[in-house]
């Protein structure tokens, strides 16, 4: 049931609302555009007595992450956040946090890495940390940013998982452009999200040592354990989403949103906010008799290999909209192309679609309807000719 109050707020403000309903205990803040609004909202809620939390203004992103690491290990529910070079400044802390199994939540309103100083959205910043053992995914709208906050706490704090989460949204597009957000009632949140309980917190009444050096032959077993836990997170996602949909009356797919799946021969693979424009473009194209599908992933980590393969196997050609850079990577595009290629490789050859990449939405560039029409055209052409003429297109630099 869609209960609650409707608000017209942007993504960072939406997460702040969710954090308040999650009764978060410790918040660590450091300013960097475009995520700062989240912390401005939270500091005000704390100052006004609406949220009983420790609001710690840190000296850096590295300290931000360290503060929530210590707090989470003590048994507190935590929130922090950053963007762009702030995300990379804190890099050292990511693996200790996930390895120590502290389910902190970090909100990222993404931003292009320097140089040059560029405030615009690009997914490259936090994607750098995709191998650090964190749950990671993007919201398309402020509403989804709100919802993901609760979903990620529930998933990350589940004792079968106990992993930190990157709760990401496209900088400016989602973080700054308000949308309608239904803020549910406290009782609904309480029904969905149990209080945070860490199995072995730092507590002088029952002492544990957190993180001694290990024997070298325990290393591989530790890494296997971390891999298994990330897999476990994947298994639990449908359970969490189904509960969420039940309590809040939403209709989220677990891993993948597959829009206009039937009839289409080609599919655009998208992560993040631009999927919204893609959806309109697809509708417009459909009216003209061109059928294109959308596959939007809700989680980058854990990557839903089998599910993505199954969805993409319906199509003759798949175009990955990269929205990030990975210079010199296999396929010469971004980080998603090799991941999708590896995913498709599990399919039998006759079910394996052709794959191409579109470098778009870089350094904050808007992806316009026309850009998507261009991508659709290239995909349809490839499907018709059963051949890819060019594996990577840099949108805005291509001749029609």
């Amino acid at each position: 049931m869609m209960k609650g109050k409707k608000k017209f707020i942007a993504g960072t403000a939406a997460v702040a609302e969710a954090a308040m309903l999650a009764n978060v205990d410790v918040i660590s803040a450091y300013p960097i555009r475009p995520y700062t609004g989240l912390m401005v909202d939270l500091s005000k809620k704390v100052a006004d007595g609406k949220l009983d939390a420790e609001f710690v203004h840190a000296d850096s992103e590295h300290s931000q992450l360290s503060i929530v690491h210590g707090a989470s290990a003590s048994g507190a529910r935590t929130m922090t956040g950053s963007a762009g070079v702030g995300v990379t400044y804190a890099f050292e802390t990511y693996s200790p946090i996930s390895g120590g199994r502290c389910p902190v939540q970090m909100v990222v309103a993404d931003r292009t890495l320097d140089p040059p100083g560029d405030f615009g959205s690009e997914h490259s910043d936090v994607l750098c940390a995709r191998d650090q053992g964190w749950i990671m995914g993007w919201a398309e709208t402020p509403q989804e940013a709100f919802d993901n906050t609760l979903i990620y706490y529930r998933l990350g704090e589940d004792q079968r998982v106990s992993l930190p989460q990157f709760n990401c949204q496209d900088g400016y597009f989602v973080s700054h452009i308000p949308g309608e957000v239904v803020v549910p009632e406290k009782s609904q949140v309480a029904e969905f999200l149990p209080p945070y309980k860490l199995a072995k917190p730092l507590d002088p009444r029952k002492p544990y040592g957190h993180g001694p050096q290990i024997f070298s032959d325990q290393g591989p077993a530790l890494q296997l354990q971390r891999a298994i836990v990330m897999n476990q997170a994947k298994e639990i996602i449908p359970e969490v989403l189904s509960d969420f949909n039940k309590v809040f009356g939403r209709k989220y797919d677990s891993y993948i949103e597959n829009y206009n799946p039937n009839d289409a021969d080609v599919c655009l693979f998208v992560n993040g906010a631009h999927s919204q424009t893609v959806r309109y473009a697809i509708a417009n194209l459909k009216a003209q008799g061109v059928n294109v599908a959308l596959c939007r992933i809700r989680f980058v980590r854990p990557w839903a290999t089998e599910e993505i393969a199954e969805v993409l196997s319906q199509y003759k050609a798949v175009g990955v909209v990269e929205t990030n850079n990975s210079f010199g990577v296999a396929g010469q595009a971004g980080v998603f192309t090799p991941e999708v290629a590896a995913t498709l490789y599990s399919l039998p050859e006759n079910k394996r679609p052709m794959l191409m990449s579109f470098m778009a939405g870089l350094s904050g560039e808007v992806i316009r309807l026309n850009d998507i029409y261009f991508m659709a055209k290239k995909l349809v052409q490839a499907a018709d000719r059963k051949k890819i003429e060019k594996p990577v297109y840099w949108i805005g630099f291509e001749e029609n």
Binding site: P212, F215, Q218, A221
Partner: protein, 109 residues
């Protein structure tokens, strides 16, 4: 979480979180490092406990009579106790002169 096909010793507690000890950490018995053994002359000892307070390894124990005893299971033989003893009551004698073996380990740790 228990890992399949991995011996128990190789398995780590989740998040690398381990139990704290209560009186000693016997994963790391260090008596085997000792080159010189400290021997207390109880005739000279004044029970001032200077050696006890100065031991980095907490390897000197005070018993109910106030006597100090060296715990050879952990004593690394640094000799601080002998250096700080105000009455020279602690001698340092080569470990190989003693027949008894206080710690014998398969591996250094």
């Amino acid at each position: 979480m228990s890992l399949p096909n991995i011996s128990k010793e190789k398995q780590l507690p989740e998040g690398c979180i381990v139990d704290s000890p209560t009186t000693e950490q016997d994963h790391m018995t260090t008596g085997g490092w000792r080159v010189l053994r400290s021997v207390i002359d109880y005739g000279k000892c004044t029970k001032c406990k200077t050696c006890w307070i100065s031991c980095p390894d907490a390897a000197i124990k005070v018993d109910e009579n106030g006597d100090v005893n060296i715990n050879l299971k952990y004593c690394k033989g640094c000799g601080i106790c002998a250096s700080v003893c105000p009455v020279g009551a602690i001698a340092r004698i080569p470990e190989l002169d003693f027949e008894d073996v206080s710690v014998y380990r398969e591996l250094p740790f």
